[in-house]
């Protein structure tokens, strides 16, 4: 009974939304890339780089939103590299993606050690603080869960709406979806497939980087090695789970985060009878289970992972 009561507390849902926030950014980022036909396995490294870039900018004395901007630009820069190598040069998206993750991660760690050689424990910054939305935060359970979060969490939800609106309601979004389904038709319209794809990968990578920055600037207030801890890979699973639709992916991310928040509380409740590692494994096992569950009926973007060459069909 106690295990069920957890689900009715506001603090549980507030935690779930907080845990979901970086995943929402990352999932939207990956979704844009894949909708344009590019699998971006650089996500884990790009999130690492974003986490560091945003945090370090603030550490240097700039304000928090400048930090978010710098994180986004850092992500876009790695996205540009990923895009150039996989789109016009048509290199393996698997290999380049893993390469970008290794490069972004090692560059981040190198830079961290270079800029902060002496520190044993990473310095802290003044992170984003929760911002209660007047009126809405008064609603029982839902209020504290949804409307007493940090500005970056609100931005995560806004990003879903923006991504959905752009993808389905604007010419740019139509172009992105089209290069992921039928690139030669786009080229026939006089639009450059390469430009659209590279642009989508850059925009997506910027979102991933903000997802990383959420961890150092909102969830915590400093940068740790290996702090992304597979969140990027989970975002990739969430994109599949959400059948490449922003709304469904958002629901997937929240469900996943709720489960994650639940296992932490269940762990405390069971009081060490079950080894804690079993609980920590659950999110990863759940991701795999979710993939198996939806695998039969997913419709991949038709041109996902298919390089496009002008004049070829």
């Amino acid at each position: 009974m106690e295990a069920f009561d957890i689900l009715l507390t506001a603090s549980f849902w507030a935690a779930a939304i907080r845990i979901a926030s970086p995943l929402i950014f990352a999932t939207m980022g990956e979704l844009i890339c894949e909708r344009a036909g590019v699998l971006n396995l650089g996500i884990e490294g790009i999130m690492t780089a974003g986490a560091f870039a945003g945090w370090f900018t603030v550490y240097l004395g700039f304000d928090l939103w400048t930090g978010v901007m710098i994180a986004a630009l850092t992500g876009a820069a790695f996205g540009l590299l990923h895009g150039v190598l996989t789109v016009p040069l048509g290199l393996s998206q698997h290999v380049i993606g893993i390469g970008i993750t290794l490069l972004a991660t090692s560059l981040t760690y190198f830079t961290y050690r270079l800029l902060l050689p002496e520190v044993s424990s990473p310095p802290k910054i003044e992170a984003f603080q929760p911002l209660a939305i007047p009126g809405l935060s008064e609603i029982p359970i839902l209020g504290p869960a949804l409307f007493e979060q940090t500005p970056l969490t609100y931005l995560a939800f806004v990003s879903v709406a923006v991504v959905a609106w752009v993808l389905y309601r604007t010419p740019a979004g139509v172009a992105v979806r089209a290069v992921g389904e039928n690139p030669s038709a786009v080229e026939a319209q006089g639009i450059s497939v390469s430009a659209v794809r590279i642009g989508a990968v850059m925009a997506g990578s910027a979102l991933m980087a903000i997802g990383g920055a959420f961890l150092t600037m909102s969830a915590f207030n400093s940068f740790f090695f290996e702090m992304i801890n597979g969140r990027g890979w989970i975002a990739i699973a969430l994109v599949v789970f959400g059948s490449w639709r922003p709304g469904k992916a958002l629901i997937g991310a929240i469900l996943f985060a709720a489960f994650d928040a639940y296992q932490v509380r269940l762990q405390q409740l069971t009081g060490g009878v079950i080894p804690y590692q079993v609980f920590l494994m659950m999110p990863y096992i759940l991701s795999i289970a979710a993939l198996v569950l939806v695998a039969r009926r997913v419709a991949y973007p038709k041109a996902l992972m298919v390089p496009y060459q002008k004049g070829e069909r």
Binding site: L85, P88, M281, V292
Partner: protein
């Protein structure tokens, strides 16, 4: 801009592109070294000296190359069939787990029986870890990239659970570590008093066997056919799913041997820091070797040299040793680009 297939591949072009790619990675690293306020030439000299400047350095490089040869082979085999095994890290740890499960006294038979037994068990464990994602791919169409990546996290937590539970060393003062393997389960050192062990020889033998399988057997032919074009292979009557399953068993088994050889040859016991990402570095090794089994040996020694050399360098120069990872990652990206340019020319218009 468009890519045009080249009519013939030329050895000179391949070699010069390889050199160019590695040079590009070196130039990029130089910029970072200069940002750190050091002289690139001095730093690279220190890296080279640290990697091969003395008998100690050279042996250390070969020791570090041993697990990378195994994981590099694992990745090369899988990627050849376009089975994207990004989970060599998990398979490595499962191999290590089997090594301590059997090797710490559960079975006491002479070394010539015990070591092959452990190797078989380790390979089986690693093979099964990859067979899961391979079956999910062929049966349900689940992308193996994500499943193998996620399994890395699951397996490392599983190892942590074992090391704090059933495999915990009672004399380990509370550290999460296993007991040491018994003498009969240890791989001998190649030179008395040095760290280089028999695992290196096993790695070379494995590379030879994999080369033979890939080049001279039906399975090798089928794996290449599936990797080249799965649809065409299926049309030609090749049982694609069965070939992928076999590839997974072979690849997972090879990665597990990395874990076996690190425990039985070098460390003696299992800890959570057994592998500093050898599974992921295996991807770089395999790509630098252009997926060629014998090339894997050379690439693994090269990459190991960078790591060992950078460690030595960072002790004397004021440049973080992470420069090694940066060099290896940028070499990967440059090399993949060079490999494409060996087969295509870029036409600007």
């Amino acid at each position: 801009m468009r890519l045009e297939p080249r009519a013939a591949s030329s050895l000179t072009r391949s070699l010069s592109l390889t050199v160019l790619a590695l040079a590009a990675a070196l130039v990029f690293a130089s910029l970072l070294v200069m940002a750190a306020g050091a002289n690139p030439l001095t730093v690279f000299w220190l890296v080279a000296k640290g990697a091969a400047g003395s008998q100690f350095a050279a042996l250390e490089t070969l020791t570090r190359a041993t697990p990378l040869i195994f994981t590099g082979l694992a990745v090369a085999v899988a990627f050849r069939a376009k089975l994207w095994n990004i989970g060599a890290e998990a398979q490595l740890y499962m191999g290590a787990v089997m090594t301590v499960v059997i090797g710490t006294g559960a079975v006491t038979i002479p070394a010539y029986g015990l070591i092959p037994l452990i190797m078989m068990a380790a390979m089986l464990a690693g093979a099964l870890v990859l067979l899961g994602p391979a079956l999910l791919k062929t049966r349900f169409g689940v992308d193996e990239v994500v499943t193998t990546l996620l399994l890395n996290f699951i397996v490392i937590l599983f190892v942590s659970l074992l090391l704090e539970g059933p495999l915990k060393d009672p004399t380990g003062l509370g550290w999460p570590q296993s007991e040491k393997v018994i003498a009969e389960a240890k791989l001998p050192r190649l030179i008395k008093g040095k760290r280089l062990h028999f695992g290196f020889v096993l790695a070379l033998v494995a590379a030879g066997i994999i080369w033979f399988i890939m080049k001279k057997t039906v399975l090798g032919y089928e794996m290449r056919a599936v990797g080249h074009n799965a649809e065409a292979a299926r049309f030609a009557g090749i049982p694609v799913n069965r070939v992928l399953a076999k590839t997974a068993l072979l690849s997972g088994g090879l990665a597990a041997l990395a874990g076996f050889s690190e425990v039985a040859g070098l460390k003696g016991n299992l800890t959570l820091d057994l592998s500093p990402g050898y599974g992921y570095t295996g991807i770089v090794v395999a790509m630098l070797a252009m997926l060629h089994p014998l090339g894997v040996v050379i690439a693994a020694i090269f990459v190991a040299g960078i790591f060992v050399g950078a460690d030595a360098m960072s002790r004397s120069a004021n440049v973080p040793s992470y420069i090694a990872q940066v060099m290896v990652a940028s070499a990967l990206l440059a090399m993949v680009t060079a490999m494409m340019l060996m087969r295509y020319r870029i036409r600007w218009r």
